[in-house]
């Protein structure tokens, strides 16, 4: 096409424009004052917004707490109260009386710790293989891994139940060890965490791998002496998230344990003891007290490890 106008350097249009920042005509003094005011106002707005959202987030917890201290009539009454009219510490006393708290707690901690350790080991191996080693069908296999995340867990329960039963881990003759195995082993694989850790491993510079090769280190040594320490924050957050997950898990442990002394805390605390079987009604006060009791340790765990979780989870989004 014919070029009608040639805006080359020699005969360019002289841009007769003056570029300014918007407030260009204001005096520096004025700008400074406005600056300061804006900073203060924006800070106030930020804090107000955060405070509002924090309130929204925290309110259900507050409600949970006060409900755990109310008696059932007050909970069910049509007028809501923001503070229990009679503080029912007895709800907590009841929960403690009814349950063999320490047995449940012990089971939960054992199951949580061993499933966490198992998960960490399998996750480290798998992530290492996917991130560092080359083999045929690596990407395809990883895609299959990801696909398993897309099937609803409810659907897997039946098959897994049959599998675990065929191992003899459940049933009338199941021992404590069997019960633990049934609760722990099926959850030793987590695609989600493998994915998370793989991303993390991938960020570790390849030079380190080559350097360790030059130093004559085996893959095994490299994994444990270089990769794992470098990915420690992620591993810690995986451990904690896994721990929390086990702590709150309910359906599967409830299904595979048939003796109350093998049960986990969330099964014990969310049981029928808070429903009135005659009328099928829930004793909300007890239930909430129990929920508070389950939640508090997790919450403390988070506060305790907040720094590590923050650091570890943040790497999730980086591409692999």
């Amino acid at each position: 096409m014919k070029e009608y106008i040639n805006f080359t350097k020699e005969n360019t249009l002289e841009n007769n424009i003056v570029l300014v920042i918007k407030e260009g005509n204001k005096s520096v003094e004025l700008l400074k004052r406005a600056d300061k005011a804006r900073k203060i106002v924006s800070m106030i707005i930020v804090y107000i917004l955060l405070a509002i959202m924090a309130l929204v987030v925290i309110f259900p917890f507050y409600w949970m707490l006060i409900t755990s201290l109310k008696n059932n009539n007050e909970i069910l009454s049509s007028t809501q109260t923001f503070f229990p009219s009679v503080v029912m510490w007895s709800n907590y006393v009841y929960v403690f009386q009814v349950f063999d708290f320490f047995t449940y707690m012990g089971n939960t901690i054992v199951v949580a710790i061993f499933s966490t350790i198992g998960t960490l080991i399998t996750t480290i191996f798998a992530a290492f293989a996917f991130a560092r080693l080359n083999f045929k069908g690596r990407e395809a296999l990883f895609a299959v891994f990801l696909m398993t995340m897309m099937i609803p867990g409810e659907m897997m329960v039946i098959s897994n139940y049959i599998t675990v039963a065929s191992f003899g881990w459940i049933g009338e003759n199941a021992t404590r060890m069997d019960a633990y195995l049934a609760m722990i082993i099926p959850f030793w694989v987590s695609v989600f965490y493998i994915y998370l850790l793989r991303q993390n491993f991938k960020q570790i510079p390849n030079e380190l791998y080559l350097a360790s090769k030059v130093d004559g280190k085996s893959d095994w040594n490299f994994l444990w002496h270089v990769m794992v320490p470098l990915a420690a924050p992620t591993l810690i957050s995986i451990a904690i998230l896994k721990f929390m997950g086990t702590w709150n898990s309910y359906v599967w442990p409830n299904l595979v344990t048939t003796k109350s002394e093998f049960r986990l805390i969330s099964n014990g605390l969310r049981g029928s003891s808070f429903t009135d079987p005659e009328a099928g009604r829930i004793e909300y006060g007890y239930q909430m007290a129990a929920t508070v009791l389950v939640t508090v340790p997790l919450f403390l765990l988070f506060i305790f490890f907040r720094k590590y979780i923050m650091r570890g989870v943040g790497r999730a989004g980086i591409k692999g």
């Binding site: 409600w63 398993t148 897309m150 969310r270 943040g314 591409k319």
Partner: protein, 358 residues
């Protein structure tokens, strides 16, 4: 990943640059246009991801082969037993007629299960309308409302949180709180708050407006979405906040120097910089949202706002409901959902290729 694309540029390019281009992308077509400029058309079958071209490791390929499988062995065994086998099992059951999982009996193989759950064929003389009428639309509504909204809110909160120093840690802890509780208990709290004589109606002076029990489907979606968003926030805030803390401060300094207004810093710098985290959240939370049902149980205690109604059905709720009695239908629904998620995730990843900057 296969990525066919064509790139056409017109510029006064010289040989050296052309070779550079070709090294990067592959086949080149060079032509001339009437302005004596060079038309360069780059045709490529696949874009080489630099990550896969890292030198050195490739040499190890053959040697690592058996080792890799050794490392994968524990996971593969466990996965085969606890994830892949159920997956295949589910797919097979989806094609069995009247599968009874206790007895292990079924009446031959069929495609009818899919037709039946979609209401194309009848069951016991009745048509299953709940999947098409409620479960599918509800699932999509929840997915397309809760995921973007929760990501947006999480983004706002984490940006705000990142901009403060005083009380930051306390706020962080507060916003993480929903992560440590269980769905059912907090669902109950929400249903009390949204009760017709609950807090929301009291605050907004709505009389005895029905949000939960007896509410219409559209209204019931509001507390449901709010609840799902609420419980989805902490993890997202966690990810985004630590993503934010990883962004080079220099970009913000540069933006300041360039007199960039705050909203523009957010949209043009922060969000693109967070795009890997956002993609990650999108993919995982879309998958999660497709599988939503526990929150409905938590909030409503049933699949509808009144007894016997299924207005709030989701696909997984349907699966859960039919698992014991109509296992074949449940499996068919699971396979259907699996396909939906698969297709959706695939498209999401494709679209994101252009929008995500690493």
């Amino acid at each position: 990943m296969l990525n066919i694309f064509k790139k056409r540029t017109t510029s006064k390019k010289y040989a050296s640059e052309l070779t550079f281009e070709s090294a990067r992308y592959g086949e080149l077509k060079v032509g001339h246009n009437d302005k004596a400029n060079v038309d360069v058309e780059v045709v490529s079958r696949h874009k080489v991801d630099p990550e896969y071209r890292v030198g050195g490791v490739l040499d190890q390929e053959q040697r690592n082969n058996w080792k890799a499988w050794l490392y994968l062995a524990p996971v593969l065994i466990l996965m085969a037993v606890f994830l892949i086998y159920p997956l295949i099992d589910t797919i097979i059951i989806a094609f069995m007629r009247n599968y009874n999982y206790v007895k292990g009996t079924f009446d031959g193989f069929t495609f009818d299960n899919f037709g039946a759950i979609l209401g194309l064929t009848t069951i016991n003389g009745a048509t299953e309308t709940r999947v098409v009428q409620y479960a599918l639309p509800n699932t999509f509504i929840l997915v397309f409302i809760t995921v973007p909204v929760s990501i947006a809110i999480a983004l706002i909160i984490s940006v705000l949180l990142n901009s403060i120093k005083f009380l930051q840690k306390i706020f962080q802890v507060v916003f993480f709180l929903p992560y440590v509780t269980n769905t059912i208990a907090i669902g109950m709290v929400f249903s009390v708050i949204f009760d017709s004589n609950g807090l929301i109606n009291y605050i907004f002076n709505l009389g005895d407006f029905k949000w939960i029990y007896g509410a219409s489907r559209a209204v019931a979606m509001i507390p449901l979405c709010l609840y799902i968003v609420w419980s989805a926030l902490p993890f997202k805030i966690l990810i985004l906040l630590s993503g934010l803390q990883g962004i080079d401060k220099q970009y913000y300094d540069a933006a300041k120097i360039d007199s960039t207004p705050k909203w523009k810093v957010l949209t043009k710098i922060t969000i693109p910089a967070l795009s890997p985290q956002i993609l990650y959240l999108m993919v995982t939370s879309f998958i999660g949202a497709f599988k939503e049902y526990a929150s409905i149980v938590g909030l409503f205690g049933q699949a509808g706002t009144t007894q016997g109604s299924y207005e709030l059905y989701t696909i997984v709720y349907y699966i859960y409901d039919n698992l014991n009695t109509n296992t074949s239908f449940a499996a068919a629904a699971a396979v259907l959902l699996f396909c939906i998620i698969l297709v959706f995730t695939f498209f999401q990843l494709r679209v994101s290729k252009k929008r995500v900057y690493y």
